[in-house]
């Protein structure tokens, strides 16, 4: 490979591969929460984006508190220390919403769309609480080291003109995602509670007949969904920044990821997260510099930005993916529940 090609690859890794892997992990975690709620409780939870914001808000508050006490994890962000506490509070709130809102409709065996509307109400309340407690503005709560590899160091190491930089937040995102997903799958496949959850998801009546306690299944689902939402939200906030409205907007890519993978299918949610993230970032990346490295000679220099879609329309990518999946495979790649 020529140096030009290597430079082009480094460029693409820096601006597409690395961010997409991190973003994909965040979306995957978010979509896992949506898909779990969908599988067990059988509705699309519109409050999930705001649950992410809600949990992240607690992470930020604990982070500030720990920082004021001088606690830190050295090179790692203090938010990791705050995360478990935030998960507990967010899960408690999720259980409260279930007790006061969703349980009633479950007992009534209400139509799924009623659950969806109820989740819109919960979304309003959570959104209001977040704005009330922490405000609608941007909050940056990342501390510790910023980079695992800086672009400059990479350039010095390899002698290339293009560098690859990896942020600590991106590294943490990927590692956390792998740990969480491994733990979740272990839980769903090996533990008694996890198995009963899958049984409940597959066939509610049969599961009830076999003596599975539905209240327990629902409770564990909400705890898991809140935990996943808090983790996803915190990682996203560390990587970018925390703004309540952005989290509401994450709802679309998260839903797209869950549907692409097949609603109710955890493996699909992870795959969907990466599909959406890679499409979004690669479609909105400006390929001008990349093309100039790949095309030899000066005669063929690209004159436009060579950007397929402006970043302003990144939501359109999730939407288009969603439409394509609905047109060709309404059940998603991994055949979830659709009917």
């Amino acid at each position: 490979m020529t140096e030009e090609t290597l430079n082009a690859l480094a460029l693409l890794s820096n601006f597409v591969l690395v961010p997409a892997v991190a973003y994909g992990s965040q979306l995957a975690l978010g979509a896992l929460g949506v898909t779990l709620v969908y599988g067990i409780l059988r509705f699309s939870n519109f409050a999930h984006g705001d649950t992410m914001a809600f949990g992240t808000m607690f992470t930020i508050l604990f982070t500030w508190w720990f920082q004021s006490m001088g606690l830190s994890l050295g090179p790692l962000p203090t938010a990791l220390l705050a995360l478990p506490f935030a998960i507990v509070l967010c899960a408690l709130f999720a259980l409260l919403t279930d007790k006061f809102v969703y349980r009633f409709y479950r007992q009534q065996r209400a139509d799924p769309v009623i659950f969806v509307i109820a989740s819109v109400g919960v979304m309003f309340v959570m959104n209001g609480l977040v704005r009330f407690i922490i405000g609608p503005n941007d909050q940056n709560f990342a501390d510790g080291e910023r980079f695992i590899i800086k672009a400059r160091e990479f350039k010095q190491m390899t002698g290339l003109a293009e560098g690859i930089s990896i942020k600590v937040s991106q590294g943490i995102t990927v590692i956390t995602m792998i740990v969480v997903v491994a733990a979740l799958f272990w839980f769903l496949n090996k533990t008694r509670t996890g198995k009963s959850m899958r049984a409940y998801s597959d066939n509610e009546d049969l599961a009830l007949l076999s003596g599975i306690n539905p209240d327990r299944v629902v409770m564990v689902t909400w705890i898991l969904a809140a935990a996943l939402a808090t983790i996803a939200g915190t990682l996203y906030g560390l990587d970018k920044s925390f703004k309540p409205f952005t989290y509401f907007q994450l709802l679309l890519p998260v839903f797209a990821a869950a549907i692409v993978g097949g609603l109710g299918n955890p493996l699909g949610a992870i795959a969907g997260g990466f599909v959406v993230a890679f499409s979004e970032i690669s479609v909105t990346y400006a390929y001008k510099k990349f093309a100039n490295y790949m095309v030899p000679g000066d005669d063929w220099k690209a004159d436009g930005l060579m950007q397929l879609l402006s970043t302003n329309y990144k939501f359109a990518v999730s939407f288009l993916i969603l439409l394509l999946v609905l047109l060709f495979r309404p059940t998603g790649i991994f055949a979830g529940k659709s009917a």
Partner: protein, 437 residues
Amino acid sequence: MKGSIRNIFYFSVMAGLIVLVGQLQSWNVALSILNLCLISSIMALGVNIQWGYAGLFNVGVMGFAALGGLAAVIIAMPPVREAWAVAGSGVAVGIGIFLATSIAALLVYRKLRKGPLRTVLVMLIVILGYVLLRIYFDPTTKVIEKVNPASTGYLGGLGLPVLLAWPVGGLLAGAVAWIVGKVTLGLRSDYLAIATLGISEIIVAVLKHEDWLSRGVKNVNGLPRPVPYEVGLQNAQWFLSLCERLGADPVTFSSIFVKLCYAVLFASVLLLVLWLSEKALRSPWGRMMRAIRDNEVSANAMGKDVTARHLQVFVLGSIVVGIAGAMLTTLDGQLTPSSYQPLRFTFLIWVMVIVGGSGNNWGAVLGGFVIWFFWIEAEPLGLWLMNFLTSGMAADNALRLHLIESAAHMRLMTMGIILLLALRFSPRGLIPERNHQ
């Protein structure tokens, strides 16, 4: 008859509240609340057509309202001659490509049989059209945006009367609804919800970022009005003599007069839409819609094409929302794309429908009035409440300041709680759907 007495009671309480605001705050405030109540009611009627008649969950109200707003700009603003002079041919090419793509896609869609081949072909045509547009039309947009960016920097509109924008806004919204509905209807109900959420975000993103079309976040100001201007009134002889006869101050009364004119316009649209909706609801068509809503399987067995009826009702409801969106922009006199917030434009309308009474047009109208009234009045009330609750604290207490500052966010929470309470304890709403036996 018990029901209608209750309804008259509800509406008179609502009228009383507005009069109370007029007496306590000012008639200007009361009339601006009334005007927005009227528009909200029309939007709620649109959503009620989709949800109440057919059980369709549209989470894209914001997008359809924004399309109405765009129509107001395109129809009513005067054309920017300089921009057309330098970019007219480019625009013609752009429109040409757009039309060619649409016609080609439509032809393939009509001629071929349903199947993967048709879908792939339609998509290829759309993608090709998009690429061609980007190549040939992008330079034109740059040229347009360079023309006097501080005051214009966009194409302007057609310079037609702004009232024309209302039906056009409805058509625009209906066309987009048709595309979305075509793809998502017939699948799970959640899919329509998510897809409409997506399309509304995209529509607003287009308004925010396509400066050549809508000036983006620079906003389009000074939309022509369908009613007289205050300054004009204050100089008109007939108006001055009217003021004299009423003993009113011409400056204050002119703005009240303008708002009254708007109120008359909006109320006539509301009554027209309401009349049509009621007619439709009582017709065989309405009975069929309710049959489909209440039992899709048996309606299907009776030979009703459920998906096609859903598409029809989804488009109709979106048209009504689009009309209301155009009216709102007309009232504001400006298009501010950044003001389109989903909580305000989508979910608030939903609260109106659920609280008012899904399936009942009068209920939706009442919900529009009640919820908009409290949405506006919640802010002074919340502020007053916070001041009252924290009155024991020192004036510079950090918690007190934070609470007072965040009182504005209270209304989101209040709306959420109202929605949840209504859904649980009064799921049929203030004015429940009547059973037409």
